[in-house]
């Protein structure tokens, strides 16, 4: 891999090449579904929560390199965090953890943030329904 002449940072390419936590999850506690094919980006994020702590996260993503890498990164970032902590993960934090994104690709990190929020939302809803 010739990272030197890549659109993306080494870290992005590393996550793109070997994305962590790919796949569906059985019985997730929350599912986030954002994006649409018109924009070229769709992300599904699944979380498993125990005692308000996100113990597992998985994703499926249709999209560009940045979309896949941010998906991978966000699942890494949330694991072990409380739901409240996870809610505070911004798109900038995801981009920074990846060593930066090209300016035109910053919107992809927004997708990851939104997917996470949407999954947590879903978790809250499900929690609410259980109570």
């Amino acid at each position: 891999m010739r990272d030197v002449f890549s659109l993306y940072s080494k870290k992005v390419m590393e996550h793109f090449k070997n994305p962590r936590n790919v796949g569906e999850m059985e019985n997730p506690d929350g599912i986030g579904h954002v994006g649409n094919p018109i924009c070229g980006d769709i992300m599904e994020l699944y979380i498993k929560v125990k005692n308000e702590i996100i113990v597992d996260a998985k994703f499926k993503t249709y999209g560009c390199g940045a979309a896949i890498a941010t998906s991978s990164m966000v699942t890494e970032l949330v694991k072990g965090k409380t739901v409240d902590e996870a809610l505070k993960i911004s798109n900038r934090a995801v981009a920074e953890a990846l060593g930066g994104l090209p300016p035109v690709k910053l919107h992809c990190s927004l997708l990851a943030e939104e997917a996470l929020k949407s999954a947590i939302d879903d978790y809250f809803k499900k929690q609410g329904a259980k109570r």
Binding site: Y8, V22, G40, I68
Partner: protein, 388 residues
């Protein structure tokens, strides 16, 4: 790792013979062609020789060729030059939704200063219908511009027929032949064009070098104002090495064009066939037969173009996509959308464009690698899950 370049429509390597021809004009015969001393005059002689080669290849007169800095400048000069000079006759321009940005954007600019632009309809293969041109013409139409072949999908347009219609009605006709010049035979009289744009870096010539054919008698104003170069039609010190390189590239193209087109057509069809055999949910974009010999454009469902490109790149293969993600506009290719493709399919498009140095093994390698990449990406695609 060996690198395989299959993006010849984006740009080509400069042929070694072309670089060889250019070299003396950097350091030795470096004069400014406007200078009357021998340094200048040898530069002048060199550019006129190149001009002759280009004129000959398209059946034009030497003085009908204006050198420019590329296809974009040729297009800007043609459109703005004709529009401004013929404003008194009308303000209507006809073009197509298939055009390169280097046509679309000048049209947008002209629209801001009072011109009206009509975009012709195209069919699902990106083919224009000359009858539609007739319908679009009004008494105010001063210019029609339609590309010779499309850079993304490779469809070759019925330029001669459109030109005939324009000529009968005394309307200027321009064609963007950036993708065909040096690859397909071109004769400006047979095509019935008044103006024709070409660019050197698409035929193994240098980047930053183009030309515009302007039929004698065409009313237009200059685009690049300044000194008296190019018979006062395009100012700026001539890029002598670039022009010499362009001339050499044309000389080689003239010699190899026919054979290359045959060979590339075989490789092209092999690659298309292979993709269809090895990958499901694929469609071909562009016309199946009225197609550039080197162009393969397919849409692969449930996966996005850029991520395919990056994976191909990691395996040493350079290709291109019409997906939004490859541009800063965030919109997928206007060309693919104009064919009626869904945004989804447009995002999943992949273009391979072959060229002079493409080898059959390279095609085989792509056919080995691509299906694996598609599998991998589909396995992580939320769309594929739903479809399967």
């Amino acid at each position: 790792m060996k690198r395989i370049y299959l993006d010849y429509a984006a740009t080509t390597p400069t042929a070694p013979e072309v670089v060889e021809a250019m070299l003396p004009y950097f350091t030795d015969r470096f004069g400014n062609p406007s200078s009357i001393h021998s340094f200048g005059q040898e530069g002048k002689a060199a550019i006129e020789e190149a001009r002759e080669k280009i004129a000959n290849l398209i059946g034009a007169k030497q003085e009908e060729i204006i050198f420019t800095s590329g296809g974009t400048e040729s297009n800007n000069s043609a459109l703005k030059g004709v529009a401004y000079a013929n404003q008194h006759k009308g303000n209507h321009i006809i073009t197509t939704p298939l055009e390169h940005h280097a046509i679309i954007e000048p049209c947008n600019f002209l629209e801001k200063s009072g011109f009206k632009v009509t975009y012709l309809p195209v069919d699902k293969d990106g083919l224009l219908n000359p009858e539609e041109v007739k319908k679009a013409i009004t008494t105010k139409t001063i210019l029609i511009s339609a590309m010779h072949a499309n850079n993304e999908i490779g469809t070759i347009e019925p330029i001669a027929e459109i030109g005939r219609i324009a000529r009968e009605r005394d309307i200027y006709f321009h064609t963007d032949a950036v993708q065909t010049f040096g690859h397909l035979p071109i004769n400006v009289d047979e095509l019935n064009v008044n103006l024709l744009s070409i660019s050197a870096h698409k035929l193994c010539g240098p980047k930053g070098m183009g030309a515009l054919y302007v039929k004698k008698g065409t009313r237009m104003v200059s685009f690049m104002h300044g000194g008296e170069q190019e018979r006062r039609r395009r100012a700026s010190t001539e890029n002598v090495p670039g022009i010499v390189g362009f001339g050499k590239a044309v000389e080689i193209a003239e010699e190899k064009m026919e054979e290359e087109a045959k060979e590339l057509t075989i490789l092209r069809d092999k690659l298309i066939k292979g993709i269809f055999e090895k990958i499901d949910h694929v469609c071909l974009n562009g016309h199946p037969t009225k197609r550039l010999p080197n162009n393969i454009n397919v849409s692969i469902e449930f996966v996005e173009g850029e991520s395919m490109l990056l994976n191909l790149d990691m395996e040493g293969i350079a290709a291109s996509t019409g997906s939004a993600c490859s541009s800063s506009s965030l919109e997928p290719s206007h060309v693919l959308l104009s064919l009626g493709l869904s945004p989804e399919l447009a995002h999943g498009s992949l273009r391979f464009t072959l060229g002079r140095y493409t080898k059959e093994e390279e095609i085989d390698y792509v056919l080995e690698i691509l299906p694996k990449i598609v599998d991998k990406l589909r396995s992580m695609s939320p769309l594929y899950k739903k479809a399967s």
